[in-house]
Symmetry: C2
Subunit: 210 residues, 2 copies
């Protein structure tokens, strides 16, 4: 296939390299394509360079891999994508990486905390299906799912981490209580997979490290 | 420890059972505690029953495990939690389970789709660190991370799923493009773990099935 990449940074470069190895033709693009020449040459004859508009025109599949703050301008310079597949790799990070700029401004945990002044609220056990917690064991073959939690009180989090460990999950501290803005959508993702996509409730997430 | 559970459904029941096995004292609660009698008796002498207020008073650690629509009322009936640890297990699901009622109303992918009329937008590659994609292999020992994607065009998603597979990730279809409302916070979770929590960028998520 012919793949055009808008934004040839870490993400676009890595994907393009892999797909070229798999035999696809890839055009990397930039407003100044000449700066991509060395990159493209190192990837062999199936690597091309061009402007975003050239990449969009060349490709059946366009990959948007730019910082969110550049996304609007990049799409504008790419021109019409009518009928093409556009793979959106962006994340709407705030400029200081402190959160998401689009669509996310609150969580149940933060609302709960407002209702219980003086309590040490820890978000936990919201992203693992009850069926998993109700079954004989938490193990998936030799792996146990991650038990994500967050909160603002360090000592309370230590206690909760131990309770999570006792349930057979691996505690993963995800930071301040505002991280519930990520843990609650995580639960919604699992619900979507389990019910919307028909995977059922015998699924769970594991944080891999290497 | 003494643990009070507000909401003794699937989640609260499963957690309480596990913690009792581990030697903790657990009070299950309901506005009508008598309906929990059979449940509690089956868990042995460390299981107690009471009202939400009694459970809150009894416990060092209070677990909120009720449907979101009941959370405000349940906390009100529990009374002050000053100085206690409150584990919030809720998810602010809309009554029809179609999404989150709190804080989530948009995504970058949906904004992108508005900008490219006629294009088949697929959200993908937004939740795996570029360092993973740039490294020699996607494997974590014998496991490969999940490559979550979503979109509204079935045929475009098939193409993208194959591209994901070619990168060495395991494609996981998460439904309509609006699921980007969960995949973008997922990326933010990984960024929080990698940078905010100091885990670095050699981490990834795997969907476990059993």
């Amino acid at each position: 296939m012919k793949i055009g990449i808008i934004g040839s940074g870490n993400v676009g470069g890595a994907l393009g390299k892999i797909w070229i190895k798999n035999g696809h033709e890839v055009m990397f693009s930039s407003r100044r394509p000449e700066k991509l020449k060395t990159l493209a040459e190192s990837f062999g004859k199936n690597a091309h360079i061009g402007t975003p508009a050239e990449a969009a025109n060349f490709a059946d599949i366009v990959v948007l891999a730019v910082p969110w703050t550049n996304a609007f301008e990049a799409l504008k310079s790419a021109g019409s994508l009518e009928g093409k597949i556009l793979i959106d790799c962006t994340n709407p990070l705030k400029p200081d990486y402190s959160g998401l700029a689009v669509g996310y401004n609150n969580s149940a945990a933060e609302e709960v905390a407002k209702l219980v002044p003086g309590a040490k609220v820890v978000k936990a056990f919201n992203s693992t299906f009850a069926d998993i917690m109700n079954s004989e064991s938490r193990m998936f073959d030799s792996l146990n799912p991650s038990g994500f939690y967050c909160g603002n009180d360090i000592s309370a989090k230590k206690v909760v981490a131990e309770l999570i460990r006792e349930t057979g999950l691996e505690p993963v501290d995800t930071g301040a209580l505002s991280s519930a803005r990520y843990l609650e959508p995580l639960a919604m993702l699992m619900i979507t997979l389990g019910f919307g996509m028909g995977m059922g409730s015998s699924i769970a997430l594991k944080l891999l490290k290497r």
